[in-house]
Symmetry: C2
Subunit: 336 residues, 2 copies
């Protein structure tokens, strides 16, 4: 069997392109005691991976030039030297973008394909869904009936944020780029939806769609929308800073300016807090339970854009950063 993998060929300066990636034939790995061999079924492309392409100190080490890209992957065990997993089991793990990988069995999470479609473990029930829950609950301390704003609202995280908040009886407004995305937000039950690409005055649009202000802002984007939402923050408002995709492909020199109206935080006693979902394992586990239950009860909708073929993963990643996906972007590497 021939294996293939995606590598980081060069570090992007500014916008990442397909040219920053390479694809190589490589050997099927050897299996050690305690390891399992996994064939990749779905791989996840996520905004945070852009940060790992830079040579910068962060909470996860950067990808090495010439080394593999890795991310969340759903796969199937094809050979096991680990007691807890057998051939045929579906698993979730952080694995390289390859057709086949060998990894320690204890670093994999066995999936139940009856609870939800397998790809959902990379999205609504996986890291993005957990991120939505952690940001709203652990960081935002969201209470029933509050006023919520979410940017990047139709994305992997944003669509879950909005629905959690609606399920908690909140007034929810989201921003996204494009008429189809805004229509999707309305379909999800959002009380307001702003197409930032088609709105000449974001300040006005945000103010009008949030007549009672904003108590919790779930930030995925940064830039102009952040400034517009800060303007309408309520007293003791919380901003959960999950992402800042507007700046991910900038060098420091051309980084967009930050919000001019930060002094507003003072008079409103408001808080802005960044977070990394992996720091909140208790809440993550809580979400897997809650999310699965809500899915079963029909209380959550979910959309994915699925691209086929390992070789198309770099392009899917770049497209996702440009906002071309609707919902969670997934690469299907092989049939289930």
């Amino acid at each position: 069997m021939q294996n293939r993998q995606i590598l980081l060929k060069s570090r992007p300066e500014g916008w990442v392109t397909n040219e920053n990636f390479g694809i190589d034939n490589c050997d099927v790995p050897e299996l050690s005691e305690g390891q399992v061999m996994v064939r990749t079924v779905y791989l996840s492309v996520d905004p945070y991976l852009r940060g790992r392409m830079n040579d910068a100190k962060s909470y996860v080490p950067p990808f090495a030039i010439g080394g593999p890209i890795d991310s969340g992957i759903v796969g199937q065990v094809i050979e096991s030297r680990f007691e807890g997993l057998s051939e045929g089991d579906y698993v979730l793990g952080r694995l390289p973008w390859a057709l086949v990988s060998a990894t320690n069995g204890k670093e994999l999470y066995k999936l139940d394909p009856d609870i939800a479609p397998l790809s959902y473990y990379l999205g609504i029930l996986g890291m993005p869904g957990q991120t939505a829950w952690v940001g709203l609950k652990a960081i935002g301390n969201l209470q029933e009936g509050e006023n919520v704003f979410v940017s990047g609202a139709s994305g992997a995280v944003g669509q879950v944020v909005g629905q959690i908040a609606k399920n908690m009886g909140c007034h929810v407004v989201g921003s996204a780029g494009g008429a189809d995305k805004v229509a999707y937000l309305r379909e999800l039950g959002f009380d307001g939806a702003i197409d930032y690409k088609a709105t000449p005055n974001l300040f006005k649009a945000v103010a009008e769609s949030c007549p009672n202000g904003v108590d919790v802002y779930f930030e995925n984007v940064g830039g102009d929308i952040l400034e517009a939402v800060i303007n309408v923050l309520n007293f003791k408002a919380r901003i959960a800073v999950c992402g800042y995709i507007s700046a991910y492909n900038s060098t420091l020199a051309d980084m967009p300016p930050g919000p001019r109206n930060l002094p507003i935080l003072i008079g409103r006693g408001a808080r802005m807090e960044g977070f990394i979902v992996s720091q909140y394992p208790k809440e993550c586990a809580e979400w897997v339970q809650t999310g699965a239950q809500w899915l079963k009860e029909g209380k959550l909708k979910y959309r994915e854009t699925i691209v086929e073929g390992l070789e198309n993963a770099p392009n899917a990643f770049v497209d996702m950063l440009k906002g071309k996906n609707m919902g969670k972007m997934i690469v299907k590497v092989a049939d289930e």
Copy 2:
């Protein structure tokens, strides 16, 4: 007896000037039951008053055009129709900038002139000192031995922030404008002091003076120094946003851009929180005790710039906003 008072003549557009104020002769007020007559001894000019000159919704209502300016005042009771206060008592209250005022006795706080010089109740033991304590403790959750940065470090609040942190065994670095201010910070025992006016590369200066990063940043200024400190925040760092004096005299159109590097908050799980000292009465009372005790033990130094004469209050206020004061700016209206 002739009374005089300072009025708001016009709202400033951008920088406030003396022309925005007027001074008028006026009557000595009538005294109602429950009120006392107070002659002003010291009045406080504070950065937050600049916000009250704008016609903007905030946590305190704006000054009215043609109406009096008020702020923290130390005065002496010259006539009393309130049971708890007698002629000769020194009091602290929020009073108009006038030679004499009548006010409800229950809104005044009786001062003990033996604990500290009377003017200290407008500074180190008053609102600015309480602000330092609340920001570090209630917002910053400062722990012994952490790494602290404070901007506007030689000002009314900043000089207290640095000394509280030093008394808690912290590594403390401050920024201020001018060689004399920086020399004062060294005298106070700061581990590092940056003259932002004379430093060509703030990023480098901040990074070099904070070799172990920053756990708590006490923000009085905003602008470039905020961006430079965000760069060196530690994991789980806290920014207590007390003031943002760099932007107080800007209209929205010419507001300086915010920090470009806010995405750093994400990976470092860092928090930025604004606050109003009056929301934390428990901590304020705690500081009056702690501060008085530390003063007695020689654990706090304190500097003031005292300007004489009610008519010079507007100018003292403008000078303070321009950073011409060393330490707390006070106007002495009459002898004790």
